[in-house]
Symmetry: C4
């Protein structure tokens, strides 16, 4: 039984081969930042308001014109089909059923069009600025046609983070079963049956681009073929020209960069350290959020991700000024544990936890949540 | 042998089925608040006064006209009969023998009248404001007739806390023995013999109200039938009209809410986070106490509960301005370990520890305990 | 091989029955203060001075007219013969060989005269103010005749601390072998052979007073027969009249009480929490030392004990203004490990560690050690 | 496979006898400072700059006229041949291949001339001021002739640190196989084969000086024969006269001593606590660095060592004002794991990690790294 996100994680861990599980769960180098994302939340304490009528509550919010059931949406994640063959299709189904936004990744392992066809909720598109601007442009165009509502530009990957677990596990795309991981995979027949036979996990699925025939380390391929380390703010300006819908910049960790994003026309930022997968040594995102809100909260939407595992985490971020949170790993655990249903279940748990937290804080709606409801542990 | 509260807890754990033990011991979600209640005390350090004549000491206090043997009284706890068939009767006997107040819960599993009949010490009544005001009114009236001395309105349960242990353990009322917990229960023959055969644990015992015939999850039943999430300060005003004895508000965590309670006529507040069972992410109560005392300590009694396990904990709370502490789990451990005698024994341990702490601090009475006897660790 | 105090502790633990080992090693209640005594030292960091000529170093100090080999002396400890039959005699021999002061306890298990006969170094006498002033007076008189150099009045025991290990272990005086601890004792043949047959561990040895024939719990006996909880500052005044040599007050934890001691004529204080054996919840002594030094360091000697296990600990205390440190458990571990030789060995280790620490700090003598050589971790 | 320094350490631990491994890995006494060197880095958090063109990056720096591939050079380490027979020769080969400086130790176990013959990169010489100034002078002269570029005077060893692991392991020079460590050594056949037969590990190798025939404890020999505890700042002045190339002082932990070093003509300092091997209780070096930079950073080069295990550690030190870092143990692990190739591999890992960290921070060169890229955890 899945009572919380942690249950889903445990179930996913049992079902996935180690290399796949750690590809998702792991962080860069010593995982200091990965852990900081979690521990950061615990240093913020609630200050509830008693005896407020909370009989009628509403966790929904309006985000760039879409009404979603809660202040939580789905992060982009790459190569989702390593977890289950249906991959992004099931995520889109689950997100739609739960009534929130799914941010499709440019590194998705299914085509935008196929995903849009099964999605009942709003879709966003996340892009990297790749070397080949025309390729990015064509994907943005396809997203527009497919009805994507907002664009999210990820900026914290000029080079690939040092994810040592993947190197240790010999993680490649497509995943290869070899002597080292044979038994580990063989003990997960459900995953093996799902993945066997087929080329659904080549990089061809990256919206039509192909790394050749051999299995390659992910980072190696991405750095060699796609990433553009020369990317700068002019790329944001270019994207701003290209796209007249809502545009967000994901991977902001300081007030300065948030202000810069606003200058260049972004409608929002996502405070993010890429789930602790890029630069190890960054603070937890909840600790970076306050300065970003203080600097730019009045002129743009501030979202955040990183370590969000409980409804209380979401409400803490709201209290510090975030508009909404995003989650990545939690829905992947749901996907591994139960497909589209699993994704929906994890999202429903979040919604229930958010709702209960509002009630216990004396807040009826997300708008009622403000800075007075929280304090830094040990402060007065 | 029981030398301290922790010994009683260990003995209770051995005697009770896991589902029952965790129903009492557990907290909400990740139990951050549950743990904060304990660790908070350790950050306060004593500053003793040497060479004071402490030959004649007195731990007793006067609380709303009753002289009790120590600044510690018994919290209300629901469904006490899941621990032993005598339940609240034995608690009342133990509290009376130890010379302190027992706060009877509106969710008690024996009737007020039966409890009052065996109680030799003062009784208080705790109430929730349920949807059915007449029901609450009738219970308050019965409490008045039974001689209850004070009324305590709990305000931190507009909805039921997310106690995942109970969900995991399939904890219902009445407890059902099923495949999953058969062996666990069978290995506790003492508890099993005590509980077998009889309907003493249906919700009928909640002062005459009944959930129907089937075993149900506690939170589900309470939320569906009783709780009133629309409760607000007017309910306190209503209760103030109804009851002219001492009235306390339990579940206060901020200065603002303490002041509000005073405005509405409360004679005291209990700083409490419901033993970490409601909103996870609240600070430990000892950390919330100082601001409440600073704001309202001059106009009302400030009690506190949460994590109180030692006489030193009680004296630390006194030094920070509390009038007295309350304990819940400790007396339930005593009840599980030794019935009425066990309750008395746990309370006696508290009294002896308080007495010894006074002596070692250079204080003869509770009145001698003030803010100069304590400091926050690391401060000057 | 014994390379440090911790080695001696481990060896003592192997050789002593659990009840005896824990009688010495344990603290009150949850041992928060016991642990704080150790962890406190780690929060102070050295600031060395480089390139100072430290070829000629001298760890000795002058204390009330006696030159001792290092700024470390021996705390009083009661009932030392539970560890080895020679008890205090061997401690006195070891202290003398190591060239430092042994503070004989009023609760010693050998007579002052016998100890003085074998002591080659200076002796101090520690006293409690017992109910029977004449008894104390006669012991002080015997100490004077035996050549004791200073008197140390312990003030933190108006009642006996709550040492639960002793209660759990059924620790009595004399120690009794019973069903519960038979095997534990039988596995320590060295200790058993040493202790068997003889009444050397009755309370008769407390300088001639006797609790009767039966084994009793230590605290019970002391509280019933000896302790004077009505003791106050007038007792210090009385002792000041009685004794014209150096007089110290042991068990001071605040600036206020240090100043009071000075007013009443004390020549020094020992900052002490009784090794964490009395009130649990007191800060570590190294954390209490600075305020005592700031208030009274210019008018009296400030000594300290509690958790001193390394030469670096001693030097940290010196840097914070202490004149010297005292140790109790470390020499008892030496005694258990190797009799008089073991005591000497432990003290020599301290001296060597102090000497090396001075050299590495750029200090040639104890006088060179000042506040500039240390900082609180994290401060500038 | 070696993915990071920690992998190299684990491999070295498997290959080396315990006494040898701990001789390298261990610190003084309770290893508080050893650990502080590591944990200190984790309290500093990065503040990246987004969307900077980092396509062209350069990790190289100019240090006293030499261009090296990265801001990391090799610390001196004594008796390197206990790890592998080639010892310093392989280190010099590896450092040269990686393109950075190797600081040859005065306690090296191969001659300066032999090392210089195989070194393709710049060499520095580290010296202690030994009692016999002529001996030091002759070594400095040999270093000059061999082309050493800078001189580094270590000042934190007036006496030998208390490295209890070595005492426990009976670590001598040359290492002796005895009853206690026979099996431990026998299980490392690779090391045993390499070390067997030959006198390459006598102290004769210390540039021609000999302790006699017997194996002796290292500290004993050094203190008896070589160390000069009377060393003071005049020795620095003397060395300044002797050597007109760059001169650094290693072992500085305070602003005062850095300023003093500048006064006496040093061109740089190395903030160092000797890898936690001398005075236990010193802060981690990253915590001492800021005050040294603030005081003397404008007039001399500030290097640092101690706990540097990741490229992020190096970049944190740079951000706090260091010119470069030095590492000791990491290259010894590389040497144990793979000889000259292993040394090169560890250094290459550092370079790649530094390069990736620059990219992810938005910095193209070491000069782009400044104080704005870092903050102390919890500060704003």
């Amino acid at each position: 039984m899945i009572h919380n996100v942690e249950d889903a994680r445990r179930q996913a861990k049992r079902r996935l081969p180690k290399a796949i599980y750690e590809f998702v769960a792991g962080g860069a180098e010593d995982e200091i930042t990965l852990n900081a994302n979690r521990t950061g939340f615990d240093r913020w304490e609630f200050r509830p308001r008693a005896l407020i009528d909370v009989a009628v509550r509403d966790t929904s919010i309006d985000l760039f014109g879409d009404r979603i059931t809660m202040p939580l949406l789905l992060d982009p994640t790459g190569l989702t089909r390593v977890i289950s063959r249906a991959g992004e299709l099931d995520v889109a189904r689950g997100a739609g059923a739960a009534g929130t936004i799914y941010t499709l990744g440019i590194g998705a392992s299914q085509s935008i069009e196929d995903i849009a066809a099964v999605a009942s909720g709003p879709l966003w598109l996340q892009v990297y600025i790749w070397r080949d601007r025309e390729l990015v442009e064509s994907i943005v165009e396809r997203a527009r046609l497919a009805g994507c509502r907002a664009l999210c530009m990820t900026i914290d990957v000029p080079v690939y983070g040092n994810r040592e677990r993947d190197a240790r596990n010999g993680m490649t795309i497509p995943p290869r079963i070899n002597v080292a991981n044979f038994w580990d995979s063989a003990l997960r027949p459900r995953w093996l049956r799902d993945q066997l036979f087929g080329d659904h996990l080549t990089f061809k699925n990256l919206q039509g681009i192909a790394p050749g025939d051999d299995a390659v380390a992910i980072g190696t391929y991405l750095e060699r073929e796609l990433y553009k380390p020369s990317s700068d703010w002019r790329d944001l300006a270019w994207l701003r020209e290209l796209w007249d819908g809502p545009l967000l910049v994901k991977g902001i960790m300081t007030a300065d960069d948030a202000l810069r994003a606003a200058e260049y026309g972004a409608d929002g930022v996502v405070v993010s350290n890429h789930g602790g997968r890029q630069l190890d040594g960054l603070p937890g995102t909840i600790d970076a959020l306050p300065e970003v809100v203080a600097a730019a909260g009045d002129r743009m939407k501030i979202l955040m991700d990183g370590g969000v595992r409980r409804g209380t985490d979401v409400v803490k971020a709201l209290a510090l000024g975030a508009t909404a949170c995003m989650v990545g790993r939690p829905y992947l655990w749901g996907l591994a544990a139960g497909g589209a249903k699993g994704v929906e279940q994890v999202l429903d748990i979040f919604r229930q936890e958010i709702d209960r937290t509002l009630a216990l804080l004396g807040a009826c709606t997300v708008d009622d949540v403000d800075r007075t409801l929280i304090r830094y542990a040990g402060s007065t």
